[in-house]
Symmetry: C2
């Protein structure tokens, strides 16, 4: 491509799609609650399928509920360039996370349609099921399914907190497609996403070429002490599961802060039992999410965390067990795709920097089966997984222009 | 009374009643889940009312759902000696807590009936509603209602975690009686209960004369930080409500251990939001239950706890608010009744010791309106508010014999 052909997106058209999406599962403070396979997710899926069809795409749904919309290519038998992300959100999530990547893909198709541009490779928009992992754990089940990371039965049998199964919910919302409709061959996978961190905004970059994703581990820790009455039980006779848990959370936090500045550890979930004011807690179950760009650092941190947990449990007179419920290695994306992201940014005159993602994305699993990469746009104040999540429209416009450039480049080869 | 008249209870008859109760809301491990105004509570109430009628008692129910069964006295217009406790349990509670006190009262009536003994004062068995406070907070709503501690509207408007109102649940289970049927005048109140602590068993006493109840305060603490993604948010940029809460729980625990050996502080309840593995918690709400036999010590401890909470919140970059949701002063019971408890124990040849209760009981509020006292029987390993709660039948027999003696003594005057 030369500079004369440099296409740009129609921002108001993309904005209008985001605006529609922002009303489906809207929360009071501007965010969204659109958990995977909820009624809100179904409503959004129905609209999205209409939009795909309106754009002239051929729609199919696979047995994990992933939705695809294909735009034909010229070259006989060529595999598609796939672009997308996810339409589900956290329980109090933002309106861009995932959604932007899917609808930016659709906007790219609209621009190509506007200009009657035919590409060599087909272009396929995808919306993956249950990326967030907020309803069904672990995250990225839809992309993990087609990448062969998880067994089909494992995915279909996942249950939410109320015990409802993934496959039953897929059927209920009408998106239980067929294994036949999984992608057979993919040329390249590309995903635009909000950064979800503070770096781009702080350093004034509208776009990042994402070189990889941190490795991440989720550990579930179960502490078992002894329940007893909060009144007549002297402090010295207690085996309080929560007091010991509080110490574990504090110590893990202190530990990762000194070990490495790129290391994170988070306890996002905790449940104690019996959870009654005047009962000493007998059990506490909590999560530890550990991340680092280098697998060796993460591995070392996890060993140290496990050791601390064991020591604190022993000295607190309780028993403990830990269970790794999710563990993914660090990812290196395709340098070929990244070079187009740089080229596109340069062509448009946008400053661009490289970056490692601290968040997991569907591109992680896609990269297992096809050369993949990502483009990030800045998150205001680095906030995400909350209603305050926001990305400036001017940055979105730049990011999607780079996406368009990169898709064109990949699809023309 | 002289030793010739020393009556004893029919333990198998009492045991049979406890056995029936132990099946209503039974849990797998031998405990009970019979929350106030649940279907299980209704089932137990219906049986209890039948038992009261079978024992020849006149039954009434007041507007808080407290159930009374009255045995006539000889002296015209004399106020009744009231004995009782509660039939509700914790979500994973034991089979004696509360229940023993109510059914022991009924056994006392049966013994008097067996011997055709008429007393000067009427004797009234009572079962109070929602003593535990596990479903509707605060505890002891039924006894607090008739003692005038709480406004009627306050009690009727209490809501459980699912938002169901106390008065609606009272109606649903068919125990919304009339204000007319509250007790008008009471001569003395007496309550037998399990100790729920380790002292009697450790020191080998089958019976305690309870001289008072510790003062107790429930504080609800709300910590507000900022939610964000667990991955891309560096540790140094976080305002994690749970990490700060963990520090508060640890520090409060350490503090009360050094302040005074009779002081307790317990966090029995915690709820974080959004409670998702890969989200930094934005808020944590937790309870602190503080108890001590002396109000001055408890008051000082609470000031220090509030101070620590404020300091830790400030240094953790989060905001905090505290709300006292229950606060009752220490109680001194009637020395007259206690003297009969001693006399009864001596008459039967049982070792007896005096004791301050670390747990709240209906007797606390009853003592505000009528001279009251309690009798404790030992808790094996001091355990209660758990399924392992147990009291040996031989100890129960002794305790109820002393109850019988004391009731006779009070009712004959
Ligand atoms: N982007 C994103 O939030 N994905 C969910 C998986 C993760 O926790 O990183
Ligand atoms: N006995 C008893 O458990 N009462 C509930 C109130 C308290 O927490 O002490």
């Amino acid at each position: 491509m030369d500079m004369n052909e440099l296409l740009t997106i129609n921002l108001p058209r993309l904005q209008a799609m985001i605006d529609v999406s922002s009303k489906i599962g809207a929360l009071a403070d501007g965010g969204l609650c659109r958990l995977a396979l909820s009624n809100e997710d179904k409503a959004m899926r129905d609209i999205f399928v209409n939009w795909l069809q309106d754009a002239g795409l051929t729609v199919r749904v696979d047995d994990f509920g992933n939705i695809y919309g294909r735009r034909k290519g010229k070259k006989p038998g060529a595999a598609p360039v796939m672009i997308g992300s996810h339409l589900d959100t956290q329980p109090a999530g933002g309106k861009f996370d995932g959604i932007l990547g899917v609808l930016a893909g659709l906007e790219v198709v609209h621009v190509l349609n506007d200009h009657h541009i035919e590409t060599e490779h087909p272009i396929e928009i995808v919306s993956f099921t249950n990326e967030e992992g907020a309803r069904f754990q672990p995250p990225m089940l839809g992309s993990g399914g087609i990448a062969g990371v998880f067994e089909k039965d494992f995915i279909l049998g996942r249950k939410d907190k109320e015990g409802r199964r993934f496959d039953e919910e897929l059927k209920r919302v009408g998106y239980f497609g067929s294994a036949e409709d999984r992608p057979k061959d993919i040329h390249r996978y590309l995903e635009l996403h909000i950064e979800q961190g503070p770096v781009l905004e702080k350093e004034n970059f509208p776009v990042a070429a994402v070189e990889g994703i941190s490795g991440m581990t989720w550990i579930e820790v179960t502490v078992t002490g002894e329940s007893n009455h909060a009144g007549p039980t002297p402090m010295v006779m207690r085996r309080d599961a929560l007091v010991v848990t509080a110490k574990m959370i504090s110590v893990i936090n202190q530990l990762v802060r000194v070990l490495d500045e790129d290391l994170t550890a988070t306890t996002g979930q905790i449940k104690i039992s019996p959870n009654v004011i005047n009962c000493i807690p007998s059990t506490a179950v909590f999560s530890v999410d550990v991340r680092h760009p280098q697998d060796s650092v993460r591995g070392k941190a996890i060993s140290m965390i496990q050791e601390k947990i064991a020591t604190i449990a022993a000295s607190g007179g309780v028993t403990v067990s830990t269970n790794v419920i999710w563990d993914i290695a660090a990812t290196q994306f395709s340098q070929e795709i990244i070079s187009y992201v740089y080229a596109g940014s340069t062509a448009h005159g946008y400053p661009v920097r490289s970056m490692i993602s601290g968040a997991g994305h569907d591109a992680k699993y896609m990269n297992d089966i096809v050369p993949s990469a990502m483009i990030f746009v800045p998150s205001v104040k680095g906030r995400s997984h909350c209603q305050e999540e926001f990305t400036r429209w001017e940055d979105i416009e730049k990011g999607v222009n780079v996406l368009l450039y990169t898709v064109q480049a990949l699809a023309q080869k």
